[in-house]
């Protein structure tokens, strides 16, 4: 079994997984490593980070110095191919023409999906995050606790490799010994912010990111991850030995040819393929799930993009891991006389309660960071530090005017120059040119700081997606139509972010070029822009009020699962990827168990 270059699929599989990113990669890994026969469908092309990643290319070698374009929305060297907020021939629509009510839907049509370019920020949800309604009466509680997921967070951290530290902070879980790798040292601007941020009460601590700061311990980790399975241990050990530690150069967003960071294509899929239990079919655009007379899922219908032909693959278990909105789309397009409103939708909640992360940012210039002695600040190709939410008690006491928290991500340092370097400096230089301009470019380079807030959104009735009644994509598949609205909990939070960032920049002695926005509705990024889209197939304890149970198993079709962000019934400020993987692993274990028992 292997990567299929043509339609040579087996007659039937134990598990069919739609999608190859964090959720699909983890589901396929969990099932294949434990012996299940798995077929993975991916809508994009095969992609190999080892041979395709532009690791050291300076921007001067790229078209337009690497700037972002509609073809490459995060810049030329970003790992995403055939993806973005717009995918040619694959539209989606918005129910409202109001820009504030538009949802931006990012898709990456490539093997590994968004894991190829993501920020690698890997934060655990805390105990509060699984029971938010119990705490403040808003949104939904999960049918599981932190303790149910913690063992899976441990395993995911050990498998993918996450650097970070244990700080013992409220609702910011520590990892057990042996899970985390050492965090990289802080950069100059990060240390300076930590020092000056103290008086504001901001805990600036090492962030957790899926980057190997040292090589993985291939002699002991595989036994912890697959305790009863010597073959899986051997395969995983080989995979771990093939990964190098970070060499402290090149941004992670480009992907990583030495496999020092996590992407599904370098960490999940190679060992799963090595078992011989996984087939991967790229360029297969899933359209719908078929069911039989008893209501069980039997097959996935997909379009072979190479030929445009429709085809069907059969499996005992069907797992949708296509990204939360794409999985919703597949369910709603899977109509039959038995399921006239789409599959697994007896609650009417498929597509409801979609969420993104609240985002707002502010930048400044810090004189203390000018003219620093030359030194290399590339570091781990991304954040080294962050500020976990620090006002839980004030918030609970009702002092903030919004119900949920945010964390702060940093941009500082002497990063590789881009087409934006030394531009727009008039406000500092009063318009210098010539030798003076060059001096000032050197002086100010590395003195700019930027802070980005990433906060929790509460699910609401006005944010959902459905099938557009008329529009179809180029494959003839009906597309999604989005409805979106932020509540005041989010816009007030965004205003709070603005004030915090301005205070922090002021504490660093920095200058703002634009004042912080007091109007959170203006400061907040559009829905979907943070690319933390979750919800739409929320999990719960009650089949009438949720789409899946705690195992990501749909209430209506017991051999149909959704393991992407869809089952999230809240969206903590913690970036969702680590939790997606932990829940997908937990779901995979349940699937394997049920298959063994003959229940599926």
């Amino acid at each position: 079994m292997a990567l299929l270059t043509s339609r040579k699929t087996q007659p039937s599989y134990d598990v069919i997984v739609v999608g190859s990113g964090a959720a699909g990669g983890q589901t396929a890994y969990t099932c294949a490593m434990e012996g299940a026969k798995v077929l993975m469908l991916e809508a994009g092309r095969n992609y190999d980070p080892v041979t395709e990643t532009p690791m050291f290319q300076p921007h001067g070698q790229a078209p337009l110095r690497g700037r972002d374009t509609p073809d490459k929305p995060f810049g030329f060297y970003d790992a995403t191919i055939d993806g973005g907020w717009e995918v040619p021939g694959e539209p989606y629509t918005s129910a409202s023409s109001d820009p504030e009510r538009k949802f931006w839907w990012w898709r990456a049509r490539m093997l590994g999906g968004r894991t190829n370019h993501w920020g690698r920020i890997s934060l655990r949800n805390g105990p509060y995050d699984f029971k938010p309604r119990a705490r403040d009466g808003l949104g939904f509680d999960w049918p599981i606790n932190y303790e149910d997921v913690a063992p899976y967070y441990d395993k995911v951290e050990m498998l993918i490799g996450v650097y970070g530290s244990n700080e013992g902070l409220e609702n910011t879980p520590d990892s057990p010994p042996g899970c985390l790798q050492p965090p990289p040292r802080m950069r100059a601007g990060e240390l300076f912010a930590r020092e000056r941020g103290r008086k504001l009460g901001l805990p600036i601590v090492p962030i957790h990111r899926a980057v190997l700061s040292t090589r993985q311990d291939a002699d002991t980790l595989p036994q912890k991850i697959h305790p009863q399975n010597p073959r899986a241990q051997k395969i995983l050990a080989e995979s771990m030995r093939s990964r190098a530690a970070c060499f402290w150069a090149t941004p992670c967003g480009r992907g990583c040819s030495i496999k020092a960071n996590y992407q599904s294509t370098t960490v999940h899929l190679p060992p799963a393929l090595a078992t011989g239990n996984l087939d991967i079919l790229p360029n297969a655009m899933a359209r719908e799930v078929k069911t039989d007379d008893s209501g069980k899922a039997t097959a996935v219908v997909y379009i072979d993009k190479a030929t445009g032909q429709e085809s069907t693959v059969r499996g005992r278990v069907i797992v949708l891991a296509a990204s939360s909105a794409e999985s919703v789309r597949i369910l709603l397009n899977s109509k039959s006389p038995r399921f006239p409103n789409g599959l697994a939708n007896s609650s009417g909640l498929v597509g409801k309660y979609i969420m993104d992360t609240v985002g707002a940012g502010l930048g400044g210039q810090v004189p203390a960071l000018e003219n620093l002695p030359l030194h290399n600040e590339d570091g781990a190709g991304g954040n080294h530090v962050y500020v976990p939410w620090w006002l839980y008690q004030e918030q609970l006491a009702g002092k903030l005017g919004f119900a949920r928290g945010y964390h702060i991500e940093f941009g500082t340092g002497r990063q590789m120059p881009t087409y934006g370097t030394a531009t727009g400096m008039d406000w500092l230089t009063r318009g210098s040119y010539g030798r003076k301009f060059k001096e000032e470019a050197r002086r100010y380079y590395g003195s700019f700081v930027g802070f980005a807030g990433r906060g929790e959104m509460i699910p609401n009735e006005d944010s959902f997606c459905e099938i557009d009644p008329t529009v179809k994509d180029k494959w003839g598949i009906p597309v999604l139509r989005f409805h979106w609205k932020w509540s005041e909990h989010e816009t007030r939070q965004a205003a709070h972010m603005q004030k915090t960032f301005a205070d922090l920049i002021a504490a660093m002695g920095g200058k703002l070029r634009v004042p912080p926005d007091k109007d959170g509705a203006k400061a907040i990024e559009p829905g979907g822009k943070i690319i933390h889209e979750v919800g739409g197939t929320i999990m719960g304890a009650d089949a009438r009020k949720s789409v899946t149970n705690q195992w990501c198993q749909t209430w209506d079709v017991k051999n149909l699962f959704v393991t992407d962000g869809g089952p999230f019934c809240s969206n903590a400020d913690k970036n969702p990827t680590l939790t997606i993987m932990a829940l997908a692993w937990r779901s995979g274990d349940y699937i394997l168990d049920e298959l063994r028992k003959g229940n599926l």
Binding site: E52, F56, Q57, P58, G60, P63, L64, R65, D68, P70, D71, P73, F74, I81, G83, G84, V87, P88, H117, G119, I121, P184, R185, R187, L191, F247, W248, A249, C252, R254, G361, G363, L369, L372, P373, L374, H375, G382, F410, G411, R414, Q415, M416, P417, Y419, G420, T421, T423, G424, D426, G431, Y433, F437, Y445, V449, G450, A452, R513, K529, I530
Partner: protein, 209 residues
């Protein structure tokens, strides 16, 4: 400058978008647009070395190119830290930029072509010579009137806007070359066995030692 544009600039200056959580700092990325048709497409070869003119036809006439080179070098001349902008291909980059088939670049094309025309005419008006042939003090006399838009006299406002955009393009083109990266003091993009954090002299200067 629009607020969002200003934030985008600031964050671009602070860090590349990819650094931060995927989207994070890229406050406002390129707006959605349909397939560009003439662009490099959604799956270009990322390992190839691209040169201006490889992907789309360029715009400048020989005279515009020479004038661009002269103005680039007024903005970024050679000094002890690095060469002049024209010595490292910045005029070709500006030509590539204004010729690109993406949203926004057509606006820059209009601004740059009109600005170059104005500059040449102004040079001939003031000094009876093309800009490229002026001596440094003459070039400075013109550029001093343009270099800071808020201070520019009404008759120079539009030219000052051109100058601001042209200076940004020159800087962006220059500091992304190996010579420009060295000039500005970027010492990264090399594989290291360990990341040791800021050296003692940096900590000392920040009062953190």
């Amino acid at each position: 400058m629009e607020r969002r544009e200003a934030i985008k600039w600031m964050l671009t200056a602070a860090a590349s978008a990819a650094l931060l959580d995927g989207t994070a700092m890229a406050a406002v990325p390129a707006p959605p647009a349909g397939p560009s048709g003439k662009g490099y497409g959604t799956d270009p070869d990322l390992l190839k070395v691209y040169k201006p003119g490889d992907l789309w036809a360029l715009t400048f006439t020989p005279a515009q190119r020479a004038l661009t080179a002269a103005l680039c070098d007024t903005i970024i001349p050679a000094d002890g830290n690095g060469p002049a902008a024209s010595a490292v291909g910045v005029p070709d980059f500006i030509d590539e930029w204004i010729s690109a088939p993406y949203l926004g670049h057509d606006h820059d094309r209009t601004v740059v072509i009109a600005g170059l025309e104005w500059l040449e005419a102004e040079s001939r008006k003031r000094f009876k010579n093309g800009y490229a042939n002026l001596i440094a003090t003459q070039k400075n006399a013109i550029c001093d009137d343009l270099c800071h838009e808020p201070d520019a006299k009404p008759e120079f406002k539009k030219a000052a806007q051109f100058f601001r955009r042209f200076r940004d393009l020159t800087a962006g083109g220059y500091y992304t070359t190996p010579e420009g990266m060295k000039d500005i003091g970027y010492t990264g993009n090399v594989a290291l066995a360990t990341y040791d954090g800021p050296p003692p002299e940096v900590l000392k200067k920040l009062g953190l030692a």
